[in-house]
């Protein structure tokens, strides 16, 4: 396993250590880190993934992580490297984006493996926003059997604004075919200008609503969607579409995309309620 564990406190004071920063070399020169919140061994471990260009320090994520830990769940909240060594900051929309869905899925897989390497045989993937979509992408691509459940909060597709997606995809594919690696700038998600390599952009652009819905239909594990009915980030009719395919879904009334404020507790409650129904297995 291409990982190394720095778990100093846990090694020295295993009983007292509840949180450590974990770092893994994902690719040459690209290390990534995660916060490992240690919970009860008899409960499933949670891999909690942040949203688009965010880090594990995103409020919604960190609140939920600590809430779950408080309830005894081990939580690993990584920060996707996005091809940046030891990324610690949310990446600006205008940055040169060289990352793509494949690297993201690979890092998710690495972190699942890392959990497994640390004795967690029941893993629940919880994502927020774009992270929910990335976890969904992972689940669509030969997920590890230790992954037992999936919770997608504020699930969203790869929005590209008013750009006509087929045309964009075609253009990107053309650039890729022509090996033109110059950065292309198009809207993506909440970024109005998103400079990216054609490959990276194309990997995200392909995840439109139909593809997400398709992925949801084939998720091999138990799943739950927690959505806010005042989420302005969502595409038009997205909630209805989700309801239409009859996915397990909780709609938090009055909650926005970030489930902040009083809705943090709704999010936690619905998540805990789901986790309690997840089968448990001792790690050792």
């Amino acid at each position: 396993m291409r990982s190394c564990l720095l778990c100093l406190l846990m090694l020295v004071f295993p009983a007292a250590a509840h949180a450590v920063i974990v770092q893994q070399l994902m690719r040459p020169g690209i290390a990534a880190n995660a916060e490992y919140l240690i919970g009860d061994r008899d409960k499933p471990a949670v891999l909690l993934l942040h949203g688009f260009l965010q880090t594990r320090e995103f409020p919604t994520v960190i609140t939920l992580a600590h809430g779950l830990q408080t309830e005894g769940y081990t939580v690993l909240s990584p920060t996707l490297s996005l091809n940046i060594p030891n990324r610690t900051q949310s990446l600006a929309c205008e940055a040169a984006h060289k990352h793509g869905m494949e690297e993201d899925i690979a890092e998710i897989r690495d972190w699942v493996d890392w959990l497994k390497s640390h004795g967690h045989r029941s893993i629940v993937l919880i994502g927020h926003s774009f992270g929910s979509m990335q976890l969904l992408a992972y689940l669509s691509d030969h997920p590890d059997p230790a992954v037992k459940a999936y919770v997608g909060t504020s699930l969203i597709e790869a929005q590209i604004g008013s750009t006509f997606r087929p045309t964009l995809i075609a253009r990107l594919e053309s650039l890729i075919r022509n090996k033109q690696n110059a950065l292309v700038t198009y809207p993506l998600s909440f970024c109005q200008k998103y400079p990216s390599t054609p490959e990276g952009l194309l990997s995200y652009v392909l995840w439109d609503q139909p593809r997400v819905l398709s992925a949801l239909k084939v998720v091999p594990v138990r799943m739950l969607l927690i959505m806010g009915d005042t989420d302005s980030m969502l595409g038009q009719g997205w909630l209805k579409a989700l309801q239409h395919i009859q996915m397990p879904m909780v709609i938090v009334h009055g909650a926005n995309h970030f489930m902040d404020g009083e809705h943090e507790f709704d999010l936690l409650d619905h998540t805990l309620a789901f986790l309690r129904q997840t089968p448990e297995r001792a790690s050792k």
Binding site: N83, N86, R87, A96
Partner: protein, 757 residues
Amino acid sequence: MKWPHAISIKQVALAFIAGLLVLVSLIGGFAAYQTRGVTYSLERHNHDAARSELTTAVQRLLNQTQEQAANLANWDETRQQMVQPEYYTYWRDQRVYESGILPSHFVRVALYTPSGSLLATRSGEIRLPARLPADLPLHQAASWLTGEADSAVLYHAFPIYADKHRLSLLGYGLIRLDFMPALLQQEALYFTDKTSVRLTLKPGEKLSASKLLSALEFKARPDLDRLHFQTILSRTLLALFILLMIAALLALFAYHRLLARPLQRLSQDIDAMQHGRFSLQSGRSQTMRIIELENVRRSLYDYQLQLRELHGSLENQNREFHSQARQDALTGSHNRRAYEEDWEKFRLDLKNSPQGVAFLLFDCDRFKTINDTYGHAKGDRVLSLIADALVMALRANDRLYRLGGDEFATFLSRTTPAQAKQIAQRCQSLLEASVFSDLGINEPVGISIGIAFCAADQLEHIDDLPKQADIAMYTAKQPGRNRIALYGEDTERASQTLVASRETSALFQALASPGMIEMHYQSIHALPGCKVDYYEALARIRYHGSLVMPDAFLPVVSSRRLEAGFDLAVLHQIDADLSSQQLPSGIGVSINLSAQSISHPEVVSQLLELSRHSARHPLILEITETSLITQMAEVRTYLDLLRTVNYRIAMDDFGTGYSPLRYLVDLPVDVVKFDISLINKLGQDNRASHVVADFARMMSEAGYSLVAEGVETDVILRKVKSLGIAHVQGYLLSRPVPLAEVAASRAIPHAGVKCVT
């Protein structure tokens, strides 16, 4: 120390104002000096503040750069470029500025590999070094400045690690910025003059950041508050000075108007008062605004008014006194003093305006007789009437002068001989018309008029006019004349007048020229031995080689009232004769003196002077008994005085005058000289002889020493001896001889003396 001359009040005011200005200037200068000190202190403070401020600005810039470097080092995208520099230029030229980590394109950044090589070389990076300096401690941040072509550039190199624990070095970053624009664009530079900030570095020269401050040149920005303060102070001082100047000028003006000019006017008024030019009109009209000065002016004006009134009064009195002094009290005409003054002035005026001049001399005919006959009061009245008539006869501007006694004169200007004669005739006519009978005078009273004329072209002879008029007047008095004579016309036709003229001329010349009077001495013999006891000094005038005898010139002396002058000349000559000591010691000298001379101070003074000879020569004063002695008390006083200096007083010509007994009683007479008319009576055998003899005997017994004059016969000599008369004098014994002959005869005892026994 000697004070300078008196200074004027203007000078005092100017000095005061100048002193005040100097004082204010000194105060202003002191204030300016103090202000300069404060200004210098403020400048120092300002400079220090600028230094501090610049230090802070430099440090801020360095800190800012370090902060930018730290942000860059910790920035995920920076680390991304170190690992995947494919889009390095996008990051370098766009992202670092979009992200706000670097403020502007003036600040550039470049990334270097761990070996110090530039991460990627593109055309836009020519201003960044291709390699980092090897001598820098690159394990930590380092700053330095380098001189480039046109500016000083600040570089800040910093390491970039893969993790926050600085365990894995990814490379280096280098921030480049133009130092001066970056430094000066800071808005916090208040005290520093941005245009003065200089950092001089040669191209390629390197300067560490630690030495930056010492290499930085700068100037403090002028403190606007201080400049404003200085401007205000300068303006205030200038305004103060101008105000003081204006105030000084106003004060000077007010001082001049209120004090200096009034005081000057007062001074001028006082000067004018001193020179008699003070105008009461000006003093009355111009009031002064200062109360004290106004009081002084009023006092001065009042004083001047009073002084002027007093002066006017004194002038009136003076004029009156002057008039009185020049007026003859008896006749109301001008007196001799006025004559002399007017004549002198007239002579001077003639030099400027030559004109014909006539001099008229008036003399009353037989006035002595009238005076002796009718008394002095009527004589004076006659003179007054004559004067009135003459004044009426003269022209309006002609003046009548009374020269003395009955003699009047006038001088006529702008006239001719004919006009002068016409005026003279008018005088006589008016006098003839005058009524003298009211005075009890039945005889006609007439005047003789002598006229002398001097033509305008002969004014050099103007001084001869009085003398010529005198001659003409004597000509007029000659019997058979019409009592008006014009000199040069009438006098040449009268031979007798020539004689008179000769005697008069001799007299006047003798009076003017000492030595012309020659004394002859006639011996007076003591009886019974006929020894010469003393000599009577008798005057002669030697004129052109011949002697003019007394009977020829004494009337002139009498008529011209020249007695005092003549007697003075005689006394001088006697003094000279006695001083020659030709007369033997012990021989006395008898001196004839007119009664009028006795009261003359100069004569008395000369007699006192002559008395020094009395020890050697007993002196006797002979006073003619016929002389009119009008001031008996005054004459007696002088005679008493002279007796104290050993003069003996002799009554001359006794028996020929008036009131002889009164003279004997009132005057201190020692010797009585019987006139020849009485002595000759002794030669007759009649009652008159007895009277004279008895009188002589009585006089002798009364203690008078008697002298018999005119003894010319033996008979009379014997008679005189018989009467007990002590001295005799006469041709019988000796004739008057010159002094030289007296001396010679004294060498022969009793030479020529014929004395009966």
